[in-house]
């Protein structure tokens, strides 16, 4: 079998020295290449910590972290990230915002000047893919929150990262916009097949988008359950009303409730 793209084993993270808070404990998971996984859990369970560790922004205090067979010992330029806030640069228009990673990541950084037209066309294609065609010259403050988040997604994808890390990217949006963007994200993923790790506390979002959902316990975070979502793609809003979907969300919800109380639901009982 092919080696998993992301392998995390026994990873722990403690903030603020020896006496600090243990945010993550004995986290072990693996993500296959091109797989879409979602990590859900009660708030403060170390989901975001996991993101920071996988992208190499912070070093783990214990355990090993492998991405693409390489030990993570610093920021990974093969990762694209999007957060709850769009974090677009207000002085750049949408196109320039989307192209920001190209000015940083090699080898694009070297080629950007010479092949600007090619890269711009790539950015325009991405913008069209998320429904922002024709908005490239607008500035962030001229767009709605949902549109800014779409642009932020484009920025995470422009350098064609093999790994896409999404930290509650839709949490600040209203439910209708969010559901629209689920479809957009699913479309992007199906078209390009990056490996995606999505952190969220929206269980419907996790079930709609992911191939596999991991449930984390409350602090210190551990992975306490795992559910494979074998619903056919592309999934639609209709899918979310199917009994299999509803019972999956229900099942996840029970795990979360148990996690918040601090006990595990014993598998299969």
């Amino acid at each position: 079998m092919e080696r998993p793209f992301v392998e995390i084993s026994g990873v722990a993270m403690r903030y603020g020295g020896v006496e600090g808070t243990l945010a993550l404990q004995n986290a072990t998971l693996s993500v296959g290449k091109g797989e879409f996984i979602a990590v859900v859990g009660p708030s403060g369970c170390g989901k975001s910590t996991l993101m920071k560790l996988v992208t190499g922004l912070w070093p783990a205090t214990a355990g090993t972290l492998l991405v693409a067979g390489q030990e993570v010992d610093g920021p990974l330029s093969i990762a694209g990230m999007a957060f709850q806030n769009p974090t677009l640069l207000p002085w750049r228009n949408i196109l320039d915002n989307v192209m920001l990673p190209l000015e940083v990541v090699e080898p694009h950084r070297r080629q950007l000047r010479a092949q600007r037209a090619m890269y711009e066309a790539r950015a325009q294609d991405l913008l069209k893919l998320v429904g922002l065609g024709g908005f490239d010259k607008k500035f962030p403050h001229e767009l709605s929150g949902g549109m800014q988040q779409r642009a932020s997604l484009c920025r995470a994808l422009i350098h064609e990262p093999a790994l896409l890390m999404l930290d509650e990217p839709f949490a600040a949006l209203d439910i209708f916009t969010r559901e629209d963007l689920w479809a957009v994200l699913q479309g992007v993923w199906m078209a390009r097949k990056p490996t995606v790790i999505l952190v969220t506390h929206d269980l419907r979002e996790a079930a709609y988008l992911a191939d596999r959902v991991l449930v984390m316990s409350s602090r210190p975070g551990r992975i306490i359950a795992e559910r494979v979502v074998d619903l056919p793609r592309p999934r639609t809003l209709e899918t979310t009303y199917k009994p299999e979907f509803v019972s999956l969300v229900h099942d996840l919800r029970e795990h979360i409730s148990a996690a918040r109380k601090g006990e595990e639901v014993v598998h299969g009982q």
């Binding site: 922004l57 920021p75 330029s77 957060f83 974090t87 908005f135 709605s144 916009t177």
Partner: protein, 299 residues
């Protein structure tokens, strides 16, 4: 079910009439609002000039009505007369002051930007240097001028250095604040891409600090005048401060006031220039009422 089907149909004509044909009543109201707004804008543009002219008129009348002595408070007409009479030395000395101020100010901009970037991007430097900076800034600049005179002699150099010292601090503090308050998430986005610290400063820190920087320029240019004039009144043989000291020692109070007014005009002119540069370069940070939010159905 039936009512559901009726609702959109009933709503449609109302929405259409709203867009295409406006009732004459609504049209009139809209036009009246536009006219009122234009009148308001015109008033806003003229108001500063009206206030300034009004102040001079009240001043003139007051001086004559209360029969104030000229060496206490000269009337604006007397000041104007003195300006005409002494226009050559006034121009000569204000040119000197303007040049000293600008040289000091540009030095402050260059070093302020450099130090601001350094302090803003490194917590270590910030903690190390900030107390010393505050210390320097709290020393009254008048007290430093005699020392500068000992070092450089009477003349232009002490004035330039005083202007520099007094306008340096606001620039450093503002630039440092702009850079230090970059959103951590934004920094993470770039760091996760493997950006070097210099990339983050260049792509995010500096542009983000620009509105702070220009805000500080407005303060810095006005206080730079304070600095150079302080030095000129203490130790110089040229400049508007020197001229004012000479005039007051001769009890030529209208000329002292003429010097004040020339200084104010220069200060305002430099301020306006700073604002113009600010508006051109950091328009993105000033979202006025004129901005229109784009709304797209479904998003």
């Amino acid at each position: 079910m039936a009512s559901d089907a009726v609702l959109p149909a009933a709503a449609a004509p109302a929405a259409a009439s709203n867009d295409a044909t406006m009732s004459p009543e609504a049209m009139r109201r809209l036009q009246a609002m536009a006219v009122a707004q234009r009148r308001r804008r015109r008033l806003q543009a003229w108001l500063p000039w009206l206030v300034i002219v009004g102040m001079f008129v009240v001043w003139e009348i007051g001086v004559h009505a209360f029969n104030v002595q000229q060496f206490v408070l000269p009337a604006p007409s007397a000041i104007a007369e003195s300006m005409v009479k002494w226009w050559v030395p006034l121009l000569d000395n204000s040119w000197q002051t303007l040049m000293t101020t600008l040289v000091g100010f540009f030095l402050a901009v260059v070093f302020g930007l450099l130090l601001g970037v350094a302090i803003g991007s490194s917590t270590l430097l910030y903690h190390g240097l900030y107390p010393l900076l505050i210390g320097f800034n709290s020393v009254p600049k008048v007290a430093v001028v005699p020392i500068l005179v000992i070092w450089f002699g009477i003349g232009t150099v002490p004035a330039i250095i005083t202007a520099f010292m007094i306008s340096f601090f606001p620039i450093v503090v503002n630039v440092a604040t702009g850079i230090a308050t970059v959103e951590p998430e934004l920094r993470d986005v770039l760091r996760a891409l493997g950006a070097r610290p210099s990339d983050i400063i260049r792509k995010v820190g500096l542009p983000r600090a620009m509105p702070y920087f220009f805000a500080s320029l407005k303060i810095a240019i006005t206080v730079a005048f304070v600095g150079s004039i302080i030095a000129e009144t203490v130790a110089a043989n040229k400049g508007i401060g020197h001229l004012m000291i000479l005039a007051s020692s001769r009890f030529d109070v209208p000329l002292v006031f003429a010097g004040l007014i020339v200084t104010a005009v220069m200060g305002v002119a430099m301020y306006v220039a700073a604002v113009a540069i600010e508006n051109r370069t950091t328009g993105w940070a000033m979202r006025g009422q004129n901005d229109q939010q784009v709304t797209v159905p479904g998003v």
